[in-house]
């Protein structure tokens, strides 16, 4: 199971890298989304996918899953949600101001103070 998860995470990374290397801004943002999905899957796998019940409240549970990776992923998901949202807003503003979503053309702007 772990190996399968690792392969899936790897596939997600591959897709993310492909998308992030493209010129279109929107594809790049989708790529960062896939990248964080792959990361979260990786994190879950790293904590161990052993059989077991949910992390429970109580002292007599015989089997339970490690809750820490889940807590970490929850935090990481919230953070990547926020970052993606900010990224989208800024990308949209950039598209309006600069008039292109092509990264090739998005350069050489003079800084002005």
């Amino acid at each position: 199971m772990e190996i399968l998860m690792c392969i899936i995470a790897g596939l997600l990374f591959a897709a993310a890298v492909y998308l992030m290397l493209s010129k279109s801004l929107l594809r790049i943002i989708i790529g960062t989304g896939l990248l964080s999905h792959g990361t979260h899957l990786m994190l879950l796998t790293m904590g161990g996918l052993k059989t077991g019940a949910v992390p429970v409240l109580g002292e007599h549970a015989s089997t339970y899953t490690d809750p820490i990776p889940q807590a970490l992923i929850l935090t990481a998901i919230v953070i990547s949600f926020g970052v993606t949202a900010v990224f989208l807003v800024i990308a949209y503003r950039a598209y309006q101001e600069i008039g292109t979503d092509n990264m090739e053309q998005m350069r050489g702007m003079e800084t002005d103070d």
Binding site: T32, S36, I68, F87, A94, E97
Partner: protein, 493 residues
């Protein structure tokens, strides 16, 4: 009060929330910002005194005992950096009144600066590796807004690259934390350190060391990973640039310092050699940039890269003397970088251009600005008795003692490059003939100049009063060289 170490994080956080409500009242925002920044400085100073007398302070958040919950740890290193960051933020906030522009002031500039301080102080203070990631993200989110605030074309264009780089580095950070968790089964930094000592120099630990180096290197701007830095830092206005230059890259370097002294000191021949090689290349690359550009902002930005190289070299040698030198240089560089960027911002503001060959002759109308800038430049290059001297001296001496002759010589040469680049800047901008005809009317600069001058004075005092700072720095070095002190203080064994 047992919550003392949290105050330098909590005060900016609460004030940031209050400032959100005051977004339309610029004057009230200024008052609250200055008051909050001042209170943060006071709180940090109080914690510093407490750490000095009672040793390392910890807070177990939510009353969960140490290896299980999130622990905030104020050791001497953390609190010294927290105090420096708070002082710099206070000066930058005052500097912003005139320079940031009313559009940005009304658009949540002040709350975001406070959020940035939350992230920076939190990163310095936290004792939990995942919590470090969270505080990094708070800091980065604020920096995303600060880099784009105002929304000029250049800012938008650069911010996209900046965000993309940081999203990727955050992803690698989470992966590295995942690996570290699967290897050690813990997130508490002290606990991880203890577990890694049991594991010893396994290859996987070295892989982890390199993963963390990539993550923090991207943030700190070390050799192959600094490519985003000159472009992104040149886009935002001067006060934001001062904050970024003084604080953001230093948080990355702090994280390298912390992880490489606490976690990854078992395979030093490999990890620290790579670190030292990268440090040299960073210094060389930074020097080339600083000498090549004819632009005030770019020259100062490449000086950030050089300073990161010097700091990394100090970390790589890993002797008591070199770490002490690193700490001296660390604090000096934060203060002086903020001051230089603020002074550079005034120069750009007066002349309306950042191209050095279009300026000239400013010394006639702005003598105080010129001489302050020259003092700051000398301090940056490390001329005695100014503040950069003692740090570089210790690093170079430690380098020669441990046989790293090439590195020590490169540090000395890079100082020369720094001196040459900033003195050229001084000559071109302040000496020479005035080239801009509209300069006859003298602009009123005192409200911009005073906070910058305050930082320069602080830096001079820091250089002259090295003797007074010495015991504090040595206490920090003690805990870095002997991780057991840190571990025992956190786990309370």
């Amino acid at each position: 009060m047992i919550n003392l170490p949290i105050l330098p994080i909590l005060i900016p956080l609460v004030s940031a929330v209050l400032l959100l409500f005051l977004s339309k009242r610029v004057y009230a925002q200024r008052v609250v910002s200055v008051a909050a920044s001042f209170a943060t400085v006071i709180a940090a100073a109080v914690v510093l005194m407490k750490v000095k007398t009672d040793g390392i302070q910890t807070v177990d958040m939510g009353s969960w005992p140490a290896p299980f919950g999130i622990t905030l740890v104020s050791d001497m290193l953390s609190i010294l950096l927290v105090l420096t960051s708070s002082v710099i933020t206070l000066c930058v906030v005052i500097y912003s009144f005139r320079s940031i522009g009313s559009g940005r002031e009304a658009f949540y500039y002040y709350p975001i600066v406070q959020f940035l301080l939350v992230g920076v102080n939190g990163s310095f203070t936290t004792g939990d590796i995942f919590n470090l990631f969270v505080f990094f993200e708070i800091m980065l989110m604020s920096s995303y807004v600060l880099i784009v605030i105002g929304g000029t074309k250049a800012q938008l264009q650069e911010s996209i690259k900046y965000i993309l780089i940081n999203v990727i580095s955050s992803a690698i950070f989470v992966i590295a934390v995942g690996f570290l968790y699967s290897v050690t089964g813990s997130l508490n930094m002290a606990h991880i350190s203890a577990r890694l000592t049991d594991i010893g120099g396994e290859p996987i630990v070295t892989v982890l060391a390199l993963l963390f180096l990539i993550v923090f290197g991207l943030k700190g701007g070390i050799f192959p990973l600094y490519f985003w830095l000159p472009g992104s830092y040149a886009a935002p206005p001067a006060p934001v640039l001062a904050l970024f230059g003084a604080l953001l890259t230093k948080v990355g370097v702090y994280a390298i310092l912390r992880t490489y002294t606490l976690f990854f000191y078992h395979d030093q021949p490999f990890t620290h050699d790579i670190l030292s090689l990268l440090a040299l290349l960073t210094m060389i690359a930074g020097s080339v940039g600083a000498l090549a550009y004819k632009d005030v902002k770019q020259i100062l930005i490449y000086n950030i890269v050089i300073a990161v190289g010097v700091l990394l070299f100090g970390i790589a040698i890993m002797t008591e003397e070199s770490i002490a030198g690193t700490l001296f240089y660390f604090i000096h560089d934060m203060i002086i970088k903020a001051a230089l960027f603020m002074l550079g911002g005034i120069m750009v503001w007066i002349t309306g251009t950042s191209k050095m060959d279009k300026m000239g002759g400013l010394i006639r109308q702005y003598p105080a600005l010129g001489w302050t800038f020259l003092t700051a430049s000398f301090a940056l290059a490390g001329i005695p008795p100014l503040s950069g001297f003692i740090g570089k001296l210790l690093i170079v001496r430690a380098g020669f003692e441990s046989g790293e002759y090439v590195g020590a010589i490169v540090v000395l040469l890079s100082s020369l490059a720094v001196l040459y680049s900033v003195v050229t800047l001084f000559m071109e901008v302040f000496w020479k003939k005035p080239k801009l005809p509209q300069l006859h009317a003298k602009k009123q600069t005192s409200s911009l100049f005073l906070p910058a001058a305050a930082l320069v004075v602080l830096s001079v005092l820091y250089g002259v009063g090295t003797e007074a700072v010495y015991p504090y720095v040595m206490q920090a070095v003690e805990a870095l060289i002997h991780p057991e002190i840190y571990i025992d203080a956190v786990l309370k064994e």
